[in-house]
């Protein structure tokens, strides 16, 4: 009896901890965090379909918290979010059909294609973001003054829209829709929410400020994960108890993540984001190599890399928050 209580206690504690970590990432980066919860729940013994469904249910709750808190801080551009979501919805369908056509060729080919896309995309984005943000920290050149943003904003295909909340004076509706569509295709193809693609695209392609990109992405994820939660629950894939326990952890983690965006500078957010997705990409690379070579130790290495990515990022964000709180305390006194 004592053993059962102990095991259940540890199980609940681990759910709370993963919820907390995902909450921090959701609040700080505007990502859902499915790439982390799904393998975690799977390793706890849930079948893959239940792991995916429960993960999406938890994301639905935590992204609502993140979106509400970012809105309070003025970090949500609802109009931009709606247009991006419209483009993303169409793109998701295209991505899902792409994956179906690959499935026709063979499961192994599909797995390899998806893993390879993860490695290339996460690795490329991480390298670009870390490099760019470090330059920004040295020279203080905001992304809005750089070439890609100028070129995208230079597209004069009507209608042209202004998004004052995102610091965008004028941009073509079609350019915004294309960004949403690209996010959707990649997210649908890779089976992800798309936050880790959308946030960098919003910053580097249309010159949205980092905090607004994070907040607006959280709003989009809230909408798409609510639909995902409904769809998975209909198939009996959602364990509401597990999702609720993780949400209790996320309740605290999200607040810390959102609070940190208020006090940490944009380039610093992008560097941390870059390192996090870079490590996640490395984890996927180990997994891919494990499949190709059949070396099981690489699978363990992959899981350890993912844990490192999440753990290191969470600790960095929590430490930044504590530092900001101390600084505020010093200024107040």
């Amino acid at each position: 009896m004592r053993d059962i209580v102990l095991v259940n206690g540890l199980f609940t504690l681990s759910l709370l901890l993963i919820g907390f970590a995902v909450g921090v990432l959701s609040g700080f980066f505007g990502v859902g965090g499915g790439f982390m919860i799904t393998p975690f729940l799977f390793s706890l013994g849930l079948p893959m379909n239940a792991a995916v469904g429960t993960s999406i249910a938890q994301i639905a709750g935590s992204s609502v918290i993140a979106a509400m808190r970012h809105r309070r801080l003025g970090h949500v551009d609802a109009r931009l979010g709606i247009i991006l979501s419209a483009g993303s919805a169409v793109g998701m369908e295209v991505g899902a059909r792409l994956i179906e056509s690959l499935e026709g060729i063979g499961i192994a080919a599909m797995d390899s294609a998806v893993s390879l896309t993860y490695v290339v995309l996460l690795g490329g984005l991480a390298a670009y973001m870390v490099n760019e943000a470090r330059r920004s920290m040295r020279n203080w050149t905001p992304p809005v003054e750089r070439g890609i943003v100028r070129r995208v904003r230079g597209i004069r295909l009507r209608p042209l829209l202004a998004f004052p909340a995102s610091n965008i004076p004028s941009v073509s509706l079609w350019a915004v829709l294309l960004i949403g569509f690209t996010t959707g295709v990649l997210a649908g193809f890779m089976g992800a929410g798309g936050g880790f693609i959308q946030v960098p695209l919003m910053v580097y392609a249309i010159g949205c400020t980092t905090a607004v990109a994070v907040g607006t992405s959280a709003l989009g994820i809230a909408a798409s994960s609510a639909y995902g939660c409904f769809s998975h629950a209909l198939k009996g894939n959602v364990n509401l108890l597990f999702a609720a326990i993780m949400l209790a952890g996320a309740a605290v983690g999200t607040e810390i993540g959102v609070f940190a965006t208020k006090h940490v500078k944009g380039p610093a957010i992008r560097v941390t984001f870059g390192f996090c997705i870079g490590l996640a990409g490395l984890g996927v690379l180990w997994e891919l190599l494990a499949k190709v070579t059949g070396v099981t130790a690489l699978t363990s290495l992959s899981q350890m890399t993912l844990v490192l990515a999440v753990g290191a990022t969470t600790i960095t964000v929590v430490a930044s928050t504590i530092k900001a709180l101390r600084k505020n305390g010093d200024q107040a006194s």
Partner: protein
């Protein structure tokens, strides 16, 4: 002072909802595979509503807590578009 009451109320409602879900799921999970189509639809609606509601309540609670400690709206710390003088 009124914010503290709101905060306390929000925390109570959130806690109660978690307990309610705990009870509901404990009695339902084993039967989930045997549910009829209509019941599955209800379960799906319940899951989505509960997660959305819990998220909203927690968000509201933090909002009220933020107001109670005097942290108002407004952007800070972004650091983009500014150059050091």
């Amino acid at each position: 002072m009124a914010s503290r009451y709101w905060l306390f109320g929000g925390a109570c409602v959130t806690g109660f909802s978690v307990l309610l879900i705990y009870y509901a799921v404990l009695t339902q999970t084993t039967l989930l595979n045997d549910l009829y189509e209509g019941e599955r639809l209800l379960y799906a609606l319940l899951c989505t509503a509960v997660m959305g509601l819990l998220g909203t309540l927690i968000g509201l609670t933090w909002d009220l807590a933020g107001r109670a400690r005097g942290g108002g709206a407004g952007r800070g710390g972004e650091g983009e578009g500014h150059r050091p003088r």
